[in-house]
């Protein structure tokens, strides 16, 4: 691997290979284990039936005695991931494939799921290796079929990187020409070697919209419960020397293994909890969604001070406990009771483009700007979408239910 990994955690990570790039057909969505879910429910019932006053080995913690962890402290316990690590594994996976095709011009499609960090990983990869990073065209460039944008990719000695293909097209009568010409040129070998990041929903649509053959594709394997356990442990351990004990509020049991580095994830060495099992299945193994829900579930005792400004002071505290709400106590967004056909179309369009601005939504949807604003606010109040840097996007916690709903309604969905 060309990208350097320096910390001890990363050495262990190298051994475990959390981030694994595989062909699309090998992608495996984690499933909730029914026996584990039932076991968790029975255990919860048993806890309730325990004789009052009996001293428990796994003491419970009433949720009323706990507090939300402030955002600044969450950045220590469950920080945003460092994309350098997966970028290294992606480079290795691409090197293997480029070697196999050393005599021909090759372009690869790196497919990412919503909230999977695909564009961020590709951006880090390009910057680290000093490969040309092709910024997506503006909506105006797409609609005006600005072919000058394509010229950036030609005549490069090193592979170029387009981090987000979903930003290079619009579902508009004039929004497909640019991406079609791009693949036409790629197939004729005029573009040299390149790496294209593409959202899974955009890929599902472009398979119908682009007549040309799409390049060989790979995708980061889903995080199953064992990898998720290890990943959360790794994220929490990056800032603190002493291990943090994550315990469930309703039964006091460990949610993450206390020292999972001694276990082999693929050999059932890590005993995962029912919470993590359900989290992996609910989030469909998408790291960004799992991390968002994980953060929502964390609680602390009121006397614990966990600000990033008092890191050394809190290290000793961190040996103690962070509490995790049981799965059924987590608040999940729900669809509005009278969700309209227009709202369904809005959600679908946001997923097909992995987020759109208000002005572009008004351009591509058959509704007025006022109607779009009203629908967007209703969906925002329901916790299903959010506006970030001028783009409306489906929220991480809303994605699972929105995907399920659109699938039930018969809309085109991604294959993952």
């Amino acid at each position: 691997m060309d990208l350097e990994m320096t910390t001890p955690m990363e050495h262990i990570e190298q051994k475990r290979q959390l981030w694994r790039y595989v062909p699309l057909s090998d992608y495996a969505v984690p499933q909730a284990t029914i026996s584990r879910t039932i076991k968790g429910d029975i255990r919860g019932l048993w806890q309730k039936l325990r004789v009052a006053g009996k001293k428990s080995e796994d003491p419970q913690k009433p949720e009323s005695d706990l507090q939300h962890i402030p955002d600044t402290a969450l950045e220590n316990v469950a920080p945003n991931p460092d994309w350098q690590l997966p970028a290294g594994y992606l480079k290795t996976a691409l090197d293997e494939r480029l070697e196999a095709k050393s005599n021909e011009k090759s372009t690869f499609l790196v497919v990412g799921l919503p909230q999977g960090g695909n564009a961020e990983i590709l951006t880090v990869l390009a910057r680290t290796l000093k490969w040309p990073l092709i910024t997506p065209p503006s909506a105006e460039q797409i609609l005006s079929k600005d072919h000058n944008w394509l010229k950036q990719m030609e005549k490069n000695d090193t592979p170029w990187v387009v981090p987000a293909l979903e930003r290079c097209y619009l579902r508009h009568i004039h929004g497909l020409a640019l991406v079609r010409q791009m693949f036409e040129k790629i197939n004729t070998g005029a573009m040299g070697n390149g790496i294209i990041g593409c959202d899974s929903w955009a890929l599902a649509f472009l398979k119908h919209a682009v007549p040309d053959r799409l390049p060989d594709s790979l995708v980061a394997q889903a995080f199953d419960d064992r990898r998720l356990s290890w990943w959360f442990y790794q994220l929490a351990s990056n800032r603190f020397q002493k291990p943090i004990h994550f315990r469930q509020t309703n039964n006091g049991e460990s949610v993450l293994p206390i020292e999972p580095e001694h276990a082999e994830p693929d050999k059932a060495g890590i005993k995962t909890s029912a919470f993590i099992n359900q989290l992996a299945a609910h989030s469909r193994g998408i790291p960004g969604i799992a991390l968002s829900l994980w953060r929502k579930a964390l609680r602390k005792e009121p006397d614990k001070t966990m600000t990033d400004t008092s890191l050394s002071e809190t290290e000793s505290d961190m040996k103690s406990t962070i509490w995790v709400l049981p799965w059924d106590k987590l608040d999940h967004p729900a669809l509005p009771s009278s969700i309209s056909a227009e709202s369904s179309i809005l959600l679908h369009s946001l997923l097909l483009h992995n987020g759109l601005s208000q002005s572009v939504l008004a351009e591509i949807l058959p509704f007025s700007s006022n109607v779009i604003t009203r629908m967007a606010l209703v969906l925002k109040d329901a916790g299903l979408i959010e506006e970030n840097e001028g783009l409306w996007k489906v929220t991480p916690s809303g994605y699972p239910i929105v995907r399920l709903y659109l699938d039930g309604e018969g809309y085109l969905i991604d294959q993952f």
């Binding site: 929004g175 119908h208 056909a341 179309i345 058959p366 309604e409 018969g410």
Partner: protein, 262 residues
Amino acid sequence: MQILHNLNQMVIIKVTLVVATALLLITLSQRILPWIAERFSGRHRLYVLASVPFLRLMIIVVTVWMIISSIIEPTIENLVALLGALGLALGFAFKDYASSLIAGIVTLYEMPYRLGDWVSVEGAYGEVKSIGMRSFEIITPDDTVVVIPHLKLWDKKIFNANDGSRNLQCTANFYLHPRHNSKAVIEVLMDIALTSSYLQVLKPVSVVASEKPWATQYRLKAYPVDPRNQFRFTTDLTVRGKKALVELGMDFPAPYPQSLHH
């Protein structure tokens, strides 16, 4: 031979109770099941809706049997005599009514239309909203209820646009001056369908051209995700299609005002 039981007060009360219970159950099933169906999505909605007439038939069969067994001695001879008399009376007095009732039973297993289907019968087009024993009701796009007796099943053509599925083909018509670049037109129309937010991408899109005495007709055929959006879908295809054809510099036949070209 005694056919009837003694019609005492108890028998009358029992029959009344049975009929009242049956009516209550039918009313409840006709209200609750569609209410539940609206809370389901996609195919599950259609399954729930389809169970309404079947459930009603079951209730009616059980009710009739309970009434008959209460009123008459349920022997073979008695049943034959009763049904014979009933048949004679119905044959003379309620021929069409009986025909509709029988056709209503036939619809339960032939299923020429189900709740949620979009059907056309003798010029009336709409979504099937309820299926009774004698007739069924459709709601037209103009929000008008049309009651159609089941006996139409015997001798009239019934057009079912989606036949129990979510796949309902819509067509947008375009008429162009005969002198034009047909390849460009077909490409644009295909993209118009593909970029419609209402399109069911997984179903095929096609363009059929035919020559008329006064224009070349293009029929853009595609499926919406939800059959209930068929008119919005056709409108979207028509409006955006016409705009794209104007941008392409296409000439329209005479009926189109010249202002559309600019």
